[in-house]
Symmetry: C2
Subunit: 313 residues, 2 copies
């Protein structure tokens, strides 16, 4: 139930990623009045700015007609998006991120696009994120302690590890866990021993994969991957357990690699089922996730609007 006092619409918030467009109509204090989503992801849109405007009108045209400010994060701001919002370089302050919003004029309102962030150290490999910076902002809005010092892990196709210190994003590291899993589970020799459909999580097989990654200290992944086949061939794990063993290996390797440089408490932000899987893996590794948040993008978009002075925090 939304408090009637908060029911006046104040902001249109958009999380516009590669494959999906999510929109929230927010009232006072960021209260969610309505939420919609569809498959109009930025990577699916061809035809330039007009096509982006049309896609947005298709999902939330009636909201835009309210002439509210609108803020959008995600791949909508990439070079192939609606308009490019250049990366802000790390170390990057979260409380001044709104100064880098890139306005793009639509017929009914102006949409302010959130820039991504780039971490490009002279003595290391570069990394980037676009959309996750807004999730981090939403996280620390409600948990200022994490804004002081935390490692924020947003698992997924390309898991993002974001180090925050004193309200500043100091480091970004992406691990290709989800995409590697999908390729190996569906298209490699490992798929041949696996059932087409996923079964319920086999915690034992998953945990054994995490433990194997831990025991290998996160090294020799290419050998451990083939073991998924031989453990199946020799009957050590039944066919339906193999996808979870593979998942445990990959998530285990990701965590062992990432925890080595993580500074401060670890905060998990993402889809609840996936976060539970990571929390289980962290348990095997003896590391507790301090907090788990389902989606903080909406809170981050509100926070940006507040920092810009368009709404009252």
């Amino acid at each position: 139930m939304v408090n009637p006092a908060r029911a006046t619409p104040r902001l249109v918030a958009l999380d516009w990623g590669s494959t999906r467009l999510r929109a929230w109509l927010l009232g006072e204090h960021g209260a969610v009045l309505a939420e919609r989503q569809n498959a109009s992801g930025a990577s699916t849109i061809e035809g330039g700015p007009a096509a982006f405007e049309q896609a947005l009108a298709g999902l939330a045209g009636d909201w835009l007609d309210l002439t509210l400010p609108a803020v959008a994060c995600g791949m909508v701001g990439s070079a192939h998006g609606w308009r490019e919002a250049p990366y802000v370089a790390c170390p990057a302050r979260l409380d001044t991120l709104h100064e880098h919003l890139v306005p793009v004029k639509a017929s009914a309102t102006t949409v302010h696009i959130v820039p991504g962030m780039v971490d490009d150290p002279t003595d290391g490999t570069p990394d980037v994120m676009r959309g996750e910076e807004t999730q981090v902002l939403g996280l620390v809005k409600d948990r200022s302690d994490l804004g002081e010092r935390a490692c924020v892990l947003m698992p997924g196709t390309h898991s993002k590890w974001v180090q925050v210190r004193d309200g500043i994003v100091t480091r970004i590291r992406t691990r290709m866990t989800g995409e590697t899993y999908a390729l190996l589970r569906r298209q490699s020799v490992l798929a041949r021993l696996m059932p087409a459909d996923d079964a319920a999580l086999n915690r034992e097989a998953f945990s054994a994969g995490v433990a194997a990654a831990r025991d290998a200290r996160g090294a020799d992944l290419l050998a451990q991957l083939f073991s998924v086949r031989t453990l199946g061939l020799t009957g050590r794990w039944p066919s339906e357990a193999l996808p979870d063993h593979l998942s445990g290996l990959l998530i285990g390797h990701e965590l062992v690699g990432g925890l080595r440089t993580a500074d401060g408490p670890l905060a998990l932000v993402g889809e609840p089922e996936l976060c539970r899987r990571y929390a289980l893996a962290l348990d095997v590794l003896g590391t507790a996730a301090v907090t788990t948040h389902a989606n903080t993008a909406c809170a981050g978009l509100w926070q940006l609007a507040a920092q810009a002075g368009w709404v009252e925090a």
Copy 2:
């Protein structure tokens, strides 16, 4: 030129893998009188034993009519092959491997199928090979010093690391380097920044990948994979160098993982161009490959026939 004194056919040798069938007609002392190959790999054949016999007749029917002994290694002996030749368990003597040959009657002759080997320790993960045991046998036939103590590396789709000690195969470890490379290079987000066609080897980009794997001590591969994208996005490597950087990363991780437990000199056996790539990587790691052999399967098949008493060694 074959010495005329050796020109009498003595053996039909078959390397019958998943995707290709290679056949040699061998004379005295294993001299190669003729060589043929086609795409009748074991995984392409449906219809049971008759279909295998037909496929063999299609490539080498005239050789079989000479009523010579025939020896075949590779996936032809798998559960889905012509006839299953059960794995010999490690530690496995190479000089008694012929005792485990499985005969299968064809119309013109009997084909003796070489068993694979399984390494199934109670305190570790199992591993297998089928075909590579014959390559190892062929290698140590000409290099008895390597039969005493060597780590034999056969790079490829599924790279095989085979530890030999006192003529005994003591350990098998498979690393999914080639298959992982192919999936990532063609079907992952990394492919988007890469040209469709491979350019000539970029030694600098390749070596930098190997060095990155070395510096990470073979850990955190999932993070290094994404760096292939960001190094391209930020212009550190041009598009055409990215496949080789990815290749260097994966081969580097394989080598760092494998060398950790390798005992004795390292012997590279495989396709010459791929072996050169591995030799370059070993150079970056400061480890020299003691020897490189193009194909030792044929020599191994001859050696098995000699051990069985069908030909004179």
